[in-house]
Symmetry: C3
Subunit: 432 residues, 3 copies
């Protein structure tokens, strides 16, 4: 995704050319900054989910979030990275080799300019993407899943399910080579993968006790701490500059860093569009501007622009994000009608807005990019089939072996006391 | 604000010179890092305000903060940037042209080294400043303003009122060209503009119900969540490194990056001075070290140093910040005596400390800078007249059309239930 | 710690060499980014501690955290930096000179390429390390120490105690020159120093009222807000990329930036190891995966890798971090058996894991580095003797003059009302 065309004007004066060593440092720095921003998104998901579950399940949700990030790190090192990028480094030990070596091979003395960036910095950036995928699942299945089966699912998701999807596209596989599928920073690869895994989980695990009454009645279980959810959303928004911006993969040329800048603006404006669209829509529809919808509107805008944050104009970006927000407003109640219990709205945000963002690339991509609506659709469907099938196997295996749900007594009392032994807010009297 | 004098030693050895392409990348990177740090300040204001309002109005305050940032983004794109920088780009469509084009025109293929940085990165950095201005207003008028009129005010503020002030100084207009007015990062342009708009809003909207009793009695409405307010302050402090540091506008030379470093230190130390001054002062005056005063002391120190964070010595910076803190301790009770109800103390912090910081530049600026006390005073007064007049028109128009305040019943019950429909802390029993 | 060997391949092609001016900017930028990330750790400690104390002491804890950071800034400027780096700058006024001048001397016009980075950027980076040391003490002695004596202790700690330790190693003193002691980013210098000061404080101040009953009974005082503690941990984790990564002190060569990247990965993976180890261990031992243990496991992993985050392989880093986590699980109850009351577990995390991390460097360091187990042990012991002795003098002096503890009535009622006058959560009904 670099812009070699831009090298020309820069090269006009020899002193304006950016040398290979300097470019290497810039490219590496982009991965490092992008990496720590995306790592920070793990805190964003933790706060969003801690704010949107009920007080009695909050500690468990916190534990799940710090645990899933850590498991993702270990599994992506053990095997995930090697699956995702099978042919990346000549040092790779292949599909089932013990990973980490692909980058570990590049020791200090062996670093050279050929790669154009530090392999370790790229590995770090890829790892935090893997963790993001797991974070998405965590929110949907909250409040009625035990810690151990959840962590087992995360282990498989981050070791195998997600890396396989990545290998098809960013790893240079089938979707990339055959279909010219385009997914700049992962509307499908990251967000829809997490979304499909979450959807299948929600279906197999079932809704929270008492969530759906007879006659289609939906009981609202309001989130316990809206400021935390707001904080989580702002953290995610901030982290997304790294998520999309550093997916340019280089800033060692004038053209690349200009592209990163444009990505920052488009990413930001898509989120703005998502927020304003949800506020206007909920104000018109319900006579109240729903704050949780606005938060999810921001996230939907961000997910939608993630498949292509560079090519669209600012106006197009706002529109893409705004439609993402509209999708959320309409599909959150739809899921409830289908009795699919998604605690934080992750399926509308990450799956539905992710599909929207992926398909619309066919309209905004450069004419000579080869991107087609059909190619995008193939990518969406292939991801769906694989992730749903693989997730279903894992969820069902867990369900019929160690079990995924706590007892009804524990679920009603709240998972915190039994699962993690630590109440989230022990000093405060509860309303119910 | 670059330091061409510094280019000389760097150029001594040809290999030490920083080429044009490399400098372009560094300058752009400064805007990007500064931009995401200032964007993060939106979260800081959200947490500060969510922590300092009462529980019954917290969700509404969260919604206002994510909404105002998004509106600021859209309006600065539609028109604000073009008003602020009317002659900036030859592609500009002028005062009332449909904006965004000024930077949108610089597509990938057209990026060149003449600007010295990516125009999109600069636009992003400018946009987040615009949002900061709106955040200031939000805190003062909290707890008794409906969502819709608040958002309408924000729309006008970010589309017109703030950009006009910017055009006079950073846009190269009257204050800059006639008065040598100096405001490095916006003590007046950003913070006082927000502060004046907030003050006029507080006067026209009036105090919260029950806030001021007969006989000058002041009823304290304590903030609901002090750790969140603390978090918000730390976020703002962190963001301020971007706010002031990246206002150097360049780090592509040894001199520029050294200046950015000095700005980091001075900014940090002014905040330290503000904190320590307020802690000592409140301990001496009230026999208690007031935590909310300490938080506002940090912010006042930051606002005060913002007008000139480069020229002062470290010792001067500490003093400037400390006096900012002292101003807060004395003016918070003063506003209450005047029955001006400022929920979070934004007027002392952003307006009074902003004026102090702007005027003291006359003492700390370089002798050959042309900065005078009179010139600084003209800047302060002109900003006051314009922002107060324009804000008054908007606030009054809102008051006498759709109305700004909710009914007394709603205000007493809390805005959350009626305005956004989402309670902030539904699981917790309230004390009152 | 730069990697000059790496300059060779980079210099193969003249255009690949990174010029001195460019390297200066990169090095400075590393300090600035690292600096703001470590500054952000102050917020992390504040949230961690605010979440783990009881509601009635939360505002006081918030005040202590913003106050200690500010005092650290002032004292490190007044004298601390000069003590820590006595021979650093020729402009230094020596051990007891009035500081700040060492960097203040390097004005804009005087910046030159000889240093290789802006002295102000380095000063900022060093200052935030000093503040970190004080943050560690704050957590251990929470809930039963008055604000004024706490701030006096912080003043001495940041002005003298910590800088003396630094001078022995990073300042080129005894440990560095005689023992080849190695402590890359401060497992001993920062974390153990804070840990020893905290331990001595806990012993002299004594446990919280009612914490230890007769017959060895331990009364658990659960933390009031687990999501805040989780947030604090994530903030610290994020900040640690700056803490360890920027301790490379340079990224102006291909080798240096590759090393920084490796440090990012190792730091991240050590934390992952700490988390997973504590989750597995508490699940096996207590049949519950303890969330506060998992948080402290992350921090222990981070502390443990801090003494040498570059040399180990990824696998070794995971193991070093995991053992750090194991240490926490076993030593938290041990301290309670010894009736040493450490509110947040800072002694196991920062002291015990810090010692572990420091000693293990003898195994992971490069063979030709001169690092020995004995040398590492000398560093640990010398730090212990000095910090314990100096801290004891200060704590005892405070105890027998102005007193360190509030009255029993105030401690039982909570420090917030009496000490800072601001309740943390006034709107919420308490359970007890």
């Amino acid at each position: 995704m670099s812009q070699p065309a831009l090298a020309a004007p820069a090269a006009e004066a020899a002193s304006d050319a950016v040398g290979g060593g300097t470019a290497y440092i810039f490219n590496t720095l982009l991965f490092l900054i992008g990496g720590f921003l995306v790592m920070w998104m793990a805190a964003g998901f933790a706060m969003l989910e801690a704010g949107l579950v009920r007080a009695k399940n909050t500690s468990t949700q916190c534990l799940k979030n710090i645990g899933l990030y850590s498991i993702a790190g270990l599994m992506f090192w053990v095997i995930g990275y090697n699956i995702a990028y099978p042919n990346f480094a000549e040092n790779s030990l292949g599909l089932f080799g013990i990973g980490g070596t692909t980058y570990g091979m590049q020791g200090v003395g062996e670093a050279d300019l050929e790669t154009g960036y530090s392999v370790a910095s790229d590995w770090f950036f890829q790892m935090v993407f893997c963790a993001t995928t797991a974070s998405i699942v965590s929110g949907t299945v909250a409040e009625r899943i035990k810690i151990v089966p959840f962590f087992i699912f995360v282990t498989v998701l981050t070791a195998v399910i997600y890396p396989v999807v990545v290998s098809w596209e960013w790893g240079g596989g089938y979707l990339d080579s055959v279909h010219d599928f385009s997914d700049f920073a992962g509307s499908t690869l990251v967000h829809s993968t997490g979304g499909w895994a979450a959807l299948v989980g929600a279906l197999i695990i079932g809704p929270r006790l008492g969530r759906y009454g007879p006659n289609g009645q939906v009981n609202v279980f309001p989130g316990t701490n809206i400021p935390l959810a707001t904080l989580g959303t702002f953290i995610l928004w901030l982290g997304w500059f790294g998520f999309n911006g550093a997916s340019q993969l280089a800033m060692g040329t004038v053209g690349d860093v200009s592209d990163v800048s444009k990505i920052f603006v488009n990413t930001n404006m898509a989120a703005c569009g998502g927020v304003v669209a949800t506020i206007i829509l909920t104000q018109l529809r319900y006579k109240k501007a729903d704050v949780t919808m606005a938060l999810n509107g921001a996230l939907a805008g961000l997910v939608a622009i993630t498949a292509e944050p560079l090519a669209p104009s600012v106006g197009q970006s706002i529109l893409i994000g705004a439609i993402g927000g509209v999708i959320v407003v309409f599909t959150v109640p739809l899921l409830d009608r289908l009795k699919i219990d998604d605690v934080v709205g992750a399926i509308p945000v990450h799956l539905f807005a992710g599909i929207w963002g992926t398909l619309v690339v066919a309209l905004t991509a450069a004419p000579d990019s080869g991107v087609t609506f059909l190619g995008q659709l193939v990518g969406v469907l292939l991801t769906m089939v694989w992730v749903c099938a693989a997730s279903a196997v894992v969820w069902l295996a867990l369900k019929y072996t160690i079990g995924v749900r706590p007892s009804e007594e524990i679920e009603i009392a709240g998972l915190d006391v039994h699962e993690t032994g630590v109440e989230a807010y022990p000093d405060f009297a509860r309303t119910g």
